[in-house]
């Protein structure tokens, strides 16, 4: 039985059914197909997981289709199910199914209900292709496909030009990264003649090093990862991607798609183990992204934007772990992050739902009593991301901090220090969000306040499940489970006595963030506004997001616009193409004008012309006859 193929094909079926028949067969059909098939895929994944246990640590491999045969190399669509992809598949189908169920409540009154579920299923299909693909090529197809689905869903309400533009921004920014991915893939194929992950890892780990620089390939593929996972310098699209429906932000832009970059690097750990320069770059970019995104999140006022920057920051943590060789730990954080960040986003969706579309936390407050289920689940997830024990985020973040400090593969106190400051900021801005949204006295206008209501059970039940998972998920130590696939790096012996003090310090940092947030925001916005007035420059810089968008606009956008306008449009299109065509047309027109003067309507003149013609013809025939 082709179980892996079944897992991948189920959501595709959902996409086709909902996309083609959904609008005609009505809402209940769409709901059953849209939620049922992902749940079936999840069950199939669990079954495959059981088979994996029976296979004694070996990977399940399944070839579905031979795509192309070039020379003596064939490009197969094959699926590869080892512990890493099994875990990712479980996250994708599990969290994906939950978010599908949540969406039935959240999108209930949307006129494009069927289209929404069709896109969501399409996303799941491509995401499963990405994580289950055995070769870089299949992975790349999924990689592009999730980009497409992300574009479609960010611009889901495309009547709003700002939302459509956000979709385009995401797509184009990702395209920049994809160029790196493609080049890396070409280099691997050129050097090794294969694109299969297992073969590539084995080749780079083998006794004879391949005839290509592992760091070069590693950096190129990492450029692809920075695009998909929103790392500096390609992070600009993710905050704008919040234009999409909130469940989409939870599924694509928090739990699954944005971790594809992490998955790619972890999947190719054999390559990155022999690419220390690329790993250093990854660690540096990761920790820088984590820090800068966290500082921006501190001043954001849109509930979803705070979560978006927090996602970028958490992804930075994952890349930090990858950079210091702790691949399993990075995937551990992917796993815990999927739970608490999905819970936070869905909780934010529930808040937005309750307030009839309001997203500005300055106009919220006092919601804890009004929507208690949302509040409790949101609080659990907030504590989890802030790293308070014994919730899930504590375990994964603590492992990351420890390996950033002590790993023999590039860990350093500097990385640890920056990451710790970031953890402090994380706790601060997340509790700020929680306090401003739920606890402080209400700042809502009367009309909104009157309509506040708890979300339907289809939404709250999902929140509860995710909150429970965020609470207990950390006890399943993923990095130990993954150790057969991705060994953990050695830690420096001289530092091992510091492990416990560092754990305690991490807890203290989390509590300090909580205390700071309580101190600043307990009484509402007054104290924060005083701080703002004291540091106006800093506040402007942070709420301007370091002016990265403006920088790109000045350095890339405007020159590109100028070249398009002046060179391609003005010179190329208008002058060269239009000019030559208009020239030809006016030539024909002028020639016709001249010739038409011959046509006078005088029969005799015509006859003379005919005569001259005949004579000329006869003369010509006489000479050449």
């Amino acid at each position: 039985m082709n179980l892996l193929t079944l897992i991948v094909v189920l959501p595709l079926t959902g996409f086709l059914l909902n996309g083609l028949l959904g609008p005609r067969l009505g809402k209940s059909f769409v709901t059953v197909v849209g939620c049922g098939l992902p749940v079936l895929a999840f069950l199939a994944t669990i079954r495959a997981f059981g088979q994996l246990d029976g296979a004694a640590g070996l990977a399940l491999v399944e070839s579905a289709y031979t795509w192309a045969v070039v020379g003596d190399f064939s490009f197969d669509i094959a699926f590869y199910f080892d512990r890493l992809s099994a875990l990712m598949t479980l996250i994708v189908t599990g969290v994906g199914s939950l978010i599908h169920i949540y969406s039935t409540g959240y999108m209930k009154d949307d006129p494009s209900y069927a289209r929404y579920f069709a896109y969501l299923n399409l996303f799941l299909f491509f995401m499963l292709l990405l994580v289950l693909g055995r070769s870089l090529l299949v992975c790349f197809v999924g990689w592009e496909g999730v980009g497409l689905a992300s574009y479609l869903l960010i611009g889901f309400w495309f009547e709003d030009p700002a939302k459509a533009a956000a979709g385009k921004k995401a797509f184009i920014t990702n395209r920049v990264g994809d160029a790196g991915f493609l080049l890396g893939m070409f280099l691997i194929y050129y050097a090794l003649g294969t694109l299969d992950f297992d073969a590539v890892n084995a080749a780079f780990q083998g006794p004879v090093p391949p005839a290509v620089s592992a760091s070069l390939v590693g950096v190129l593929l990492f450029i692809g990862a920075t695009g998909k996972s929103a790392q500096i310098p390609l992070h600009v699209w993710l905050p704008d991607a919040m234009a999409g429906p909130t469940p989409v932000s939870a599924l694509i832009h928090a739990a699954t798609m944005v971790t594809a970059g992490v998955y790619l690097v972890a999947r190719l750990n054999g390559l990155y183990l022999v690419a220390p320069e690329a790993s250093q770059l990854i660690a540096g970019i990761g920790v820088a992204t984590a820090f800068f995104a966290a500082t921006i999140a501190v001043v954001q006022t849109d509930i979803k934007k705070v979560l978006a920057y927090s996602t970028i920051s958490q992804l930075g943590f994952m890349f930090l772990a990858l950079g210091v060789g702790a691949y399993g730990v990075a995937v551990f954080h992917v796993y815990t992050h999927a739970f608490f960040k999905a819970c936070l986003f869905l909780g934010a969706g529930s808040v937005i739902h309750a307030l009839g579309g309001e997203q500005d936390i300055r106009k919220m407050g006092g919601l804890a009593r009004r929507i208690p289920v949302t509040f409790v689940t949101f609080a659990v997830a907030t504590a989890a991301i802030a790293g308070l024990p014994p919730l899930a985020g504590f375990f994964s973040k603590d492992e990351i901090l420890w390996y950033a400090f002590a790993s023999e593969r590039g860990g350093s106190p500097l990385l640890w220090a920056v990451a710790s400051v970031t953890a402090l900021l994380t706790a601060f801005y997340m509790f700020r969000l929680l306090i401003l949204t739920f606890l402080t006295p209400s700042r809502m206008d009367h009309e909104t306040e009157h309509h506040v209501h708890e979300s339907p059970w289809s939404m709250t039940s999902v929140l509860v499940v995710l909150a429970v998972l965020s609470a207990i998920g950390g006890f399943f130590h993923v990095y130990l489970f993954l150790e057969p696939v991705m060994p953990l790096p050695e830690t420096a012996h001289a530092l091992e006595h510091l492990e416990w003090p560092l754990i305690i310090l991490a807890v203290v940092i989390g509590l300090a963030g909580l205390a700071a947030a309580v101190y600043v925001y307990r009484g509402g916005l007054d104290r924060a506004e005083r701080l703002e007035r004291r540091f106006p420059g800093l506040h402007r810089l942070l709420s301007g997001k370091y002016y990265i968008d403006e920088l790109y606009e000045a350095v890339l956008g405007r020159p590109l616009h100028w070249i398009s306008e002046r060179v391609f449009l003005g010179l190329g299109d208008r002058r060269l193409i239009d000019g030559s065509l208009h020239g030809l047309a006016s030539l024909a027109q002028r020639a016709a004008g001249r010739l038409s003067s011959v046509e006078t309507g005088q029969l005799q003149q015509y006859l003379w012309l005919a005569l001259m013609g005949i004579v000329a013809l006869l003369a010509w025939m006489w000479r050449h006859g």
């Binding site: 046509e599 006078t600 309507g601 005088q602 029969l603 005799q604 006859l607 003379w608």
Partner: protein, 100 residues
């Protein structure tokens, strides 16, 4: 001067007469008649050559040409009639705006 040459000269004279007529007269009916002269000149030369090479098909062809010429005139005369009725003149110059 033998007979063939004589007939060819005659045919040439007929053709030239007709041609000069078409060229210099502006009366539509006269032009039509002159065109018939040209046609006859050509047919005469055709018959002459056909007889010289002892081929009957030439003579048969002459009848065909006559039929076509008759049909042509049958169309041309009514057109000229209509034009003349409208403008009260047979001068072809009066219709030069039909040049299109």
């Amino acid at each position: 001067m033998d007979r063939t040459q004589l007939l060819l000269w005659l045919s040439f004279a007929l053709f030239s007469l007709g041609f000069v007529g078409v060229m210099i007269r502006r009366n539509a009916l006269v032009m039509l008649m002159c065109m018939e002269l040209m046609l006859n000149g050509v047919i005469l030369s055709l018959v002459t050559f056909a007889e010289r090479s002892a081929m009957l098909s030439g003579a048969v062809l002459v009848f065909l040409v006559f039929v076509v010429a008759a049909a042509e005139i049958a169309i041309a005369i009514p057109i000229v009639l209509l034009l003349a009725r409208r403008r009260r003149t047979l001068d072809v110059g009066a219709w030069s705006e039909l040049r299109g």
